[in-house]
Amino acid sequence: MDYNLFFQVLINGLSLGAIYGLIAIGYTMVYGILGMINFAHGDVFMTGAFIALISFMMSTLMPAVMPVAVVLVLVLVVSMVFTSVWSWTIERIAYRPLRGSFRLAPLITAIGMSIVLQNFVQIHQGPRNKSLPDIITGVWTIPGTDIQIQNKQILVIATTAVLLAVFSYIVARTPLGRAQRACEQDRKMAALLGINVDRTISITFIIGAALAAVAGTIFFVYYGQINFYDGFIPGIKAFTAAVLGGIGSLPGAVLGGLLIALIESLWSAYISPDYKDVAAFAILAIVLIFMPSGILGHPETEKV
């Protein structure tokens, strides 16, 4: 077996998995609190990538030349802020009026918002692929092997790790995180105990969108191109990842993202790139059939 190829594929898979994982967190948090599939989340991710692209191009128009690192941090922050506004608005317009309605209603509005977002971006940004030359260049070779690590891969994995640590801290340790977990367990009881449930849900959407914006920025930096329909497939894969990891669990989402991405990369490298989606989805189906609550999820108890 060719170990060089194997490790190469592993590293590429990790970078892709970081992107899936970041999107999956948004799905898993919203599902945890509201019990709904936020179908528009994939398109929020795409919007984030577009905002990153535009703000990056704006930064090149500035008179003073800034170092790449500063530009990237600025782009990341701008994208996170503005994408959050999108997600907040979607929640406010399409999901909040339907709270307490039957379960399929918000799913349909979510699908509607996904269609709206995709077409809105298409109309105003044009249907063609937007591509830029690599922003971050440079490759490392691990001594003694042929394995190459690109600087941008290091950036992707490092950013994901740092942000994950920050947001896990928020959910685990801060009053906001406590409020979130309380809403997850029992919304009515949380409201009775003085938690502003609507605001907590809004903040959940904002956090999810901020992470999706990070994923979008990374996606655009990593692949160098973006299109209005690029949100759909990563969105579905990320939801798959969230379910695979056990929906409602943050580390589960990242683990699921990494697994899906690794399966995909290995399958494309060793078997056939055409059928990589089949592999990812087939494994999802198999895992769910034999382990319905995912890898790290809690088994649902059925109340009679």
Binding site: F50, T89, L104, I123, Q125, K130, F239, A282, A285
Partner: protein
């Protein structure tokens, strides 16, 4: 927010005004944040294929103003549906004013602005839209009109229930005759009305009725329904190409195969509930689509497969002495085949409606609905949930297979682009918007959504006369579809037809409001 404002101003009218103004300004600010990048700074490729930002602050300003003014009107008029209808007025006035201004600028630069004509057209549009909105408002909010309409409907309801099916069937049967005799000059033009509108809508009605058995009756959320549609289409294509089977032989086989696939997919997912079921069916749908796309030797890959036309009792629809037209002594026309297809799908749909209404009264149909309401209660009453779920999957899939077979015969080919995830979503949206479980509601939803989408293709030519050639509403087609989905769901979460006729009843039958039925968890 409101109480603070009320403390501030002693005059309630003034307080309402300033409160609404505050809301409007907040909304305008949020709209600015939303649109500043996506609308205001589009990054598109220029002539040299370089990515370039061309600021569009006019659009941005327009959107922000519309959002702010709309919100202000909504708040000031007290909110609700009434406020929403009223909020359209400033939006539309601002939109038209902005287009007029754009027109004026561009024409002033070019120096050929015929002011009076353009202004007249804009004014006519504005008046028409205002009249439309006023009519909508009157209709919704004049209590006298509403009660009169409600009274009329109540008066004719028993008669309608009795005669409606027969009348609808009669209307469906004379529709092509009506179109060919009264609407179009020659038969070739009837294509648009029969193929683009009627057949297209009826295919979606068929798919949605099929999915309705799974989602609406049995309460199993299926996001991969399009897989069965694809199975039907490719069955016809493959059997026809390799074994020379005719469409009529393939149609039942396609249904049987699709039903088998339904059982195959249904069996492993029996234990899953709710959203897990949704995601696994979605995954199956995507797997089927990927295989169709990539398994080129068998499925033809991106090129798809050729499908033979259906025949009229063995008489093919073709030019020449053996064709349908020659046999009946008519001149050959392509439209004959479309009209024939129309009657096939109408027949299939009538059969299907008959079967579904009968199924609902049979024990199996009642078991499906019981399963939707409470699975645990079903199990404790000794109902075999495995066979119930599998039969729901199989029956729904079978109808999907029929629709697929018909679709393949209509298109003359089967290729994977017709069986993407979006199709499943549209069909599910029709089922939910129509009101789950209600056949008539679903048919109305299909007519409104699919017919509306097709209608939007036609609008550009008329609107371009007013708003100039750079206004292309056909690209807003899917945007309107999405917005309509959101608005209908928010205003009528139970769908268009939100009452259900019970299939089993004590003493006498009465309609049940939709919110009494729960949707199942799978």
């Amino acid at each position: 927010m409101n109480t603070r404002m009320e403390n501030f101003c002693t005059n309630p009218a003034k307080a309402r005004f300033s409160g609404a103004l505050f809301q409007g300004i907040c909304t305008a600010f949020i709209a600015f944040l939303l649109f500043v990048f996506i609308v205001g700074l589009p990054a598109d490729l220029n002539i040299h294929n370089e990515l370039q930002i061309t600021p569009q602050f006019g659009y941005l300003f327009n959107y922000v103003l519309i959002a702010g003014a709309g919100r202000f009107t909504w708040c000031y008029s007290g909110g609700g549906i009434r406020g929403a209808v009223l909020a359209f007025f400033p939006g539309i006035i601002l939109f038209i004013a902005y287009r007029a201004w754009l027109y004026y600028i561009s024409a002033a630069v070019a120096g050929n602005y015929v002011f009076s004509i353009q202004f007249g057209q804009l004014a006519i549009t504005a008046i028409m839209l205002a009249a439309l909105l006023a009519a909508a408002w009157l209709f919704l909010y004049s209590s006298r009109i509403r009660s009169a309409i409600a009274g009329n409907i109540a008066a004719i309801t028993p008669a309608m229930q009795r005669y409606a099916p027969g009348m609808i069937i009669a209307l469906l049967l004379i529709y092509p005759v009506f179109i060919v005799t009264f609407v179009v000059d020659n038969m070739a033009q009837s294509q648009k009305w029969i193929d683009n509108y009627a057949i297209q809508i009826l295919i979606y009605v068929m798919l949605a009725w099929g999915l309705n058995i799974v989602v609406g009756l049995a309460g199993l959320l299926d996001l991969g329904y399009v897989a069965f549609y694809a199975v039907g289409a490719y069955t016809v294509a493959l059997l026809g190409n390799h074994f020379g089977f005719s469409f009529w032989l393939c149609l039942p086989i396609a249904g049987i195969f699709a039903a088998l696939w339904g059982v195959m997919i249904g069996f492993p997912v029996l234990r899953l509930r709710g959203d897990y079921l949704a995601i696994v069916t979605l995954a199956f749908g995507e797997i089927v689509r990927t295989i169709l796309q990539n398994w080129t030797p068998v499925t033809g890959g991106a090129n798809g497969l050729f499908v033979k036309k259906a025949t009229f009792f063995g008489i093919p629809f073709e030019r020449g002495p053996n064709g349908f037209a020659a046999f009946f002594g008519m001149k050959f026309q392509a439209a004959h085949y479309k009209i024939f297809l129309y009657y096939i799908i109408v027949t299939l749909l009538i059969l299907m409606a008959w079967i579904i209404t009968r199924l609902r009264r049979l024990p199996i149909g009642r078991v499906w609905e019981a399963l939707r309401e409470d699975e645990i209660a079903c199990r404790s009453l000794g109902i075999n949930t495995v066979t119930a779920k599998l039969s729901a999957f199989a029956t729904g899939a079978m109808f999907g297979g029929f629709a697929g077979a018909f679709f393949a015969a209509r298109q003359g080919r089967a290729d994977y682009t017709s069986f993407v995830f979006m199709e499943s979503v549209i069909v599910l949206a029709i089922v939910v918007l129509g009101g789950m479980g209600s056949l008539s509601g679903i048919a109305i939803a299909a007519i409104v959504m699919i017919g509306g989408m097709e209608l939007l293709r036609e609008i550009p030519s008329s609107l371009q006369m007013i708003f100039g050639p750079d206004f292309r509403p056909e690209q807003y087609r899917m945007l309107w579809f999405g917005l309509a989905m959101v608005c209908v769901m928010i205003l009528k979460p139970r769908g268009f037809v939100s009452s259900r006729t019970p299939s089993a009843f004590l003493n006498r039958k009465k309609a049940v409001p939709g919110h009494f039925t729960v949707e199942g968890n799978g």
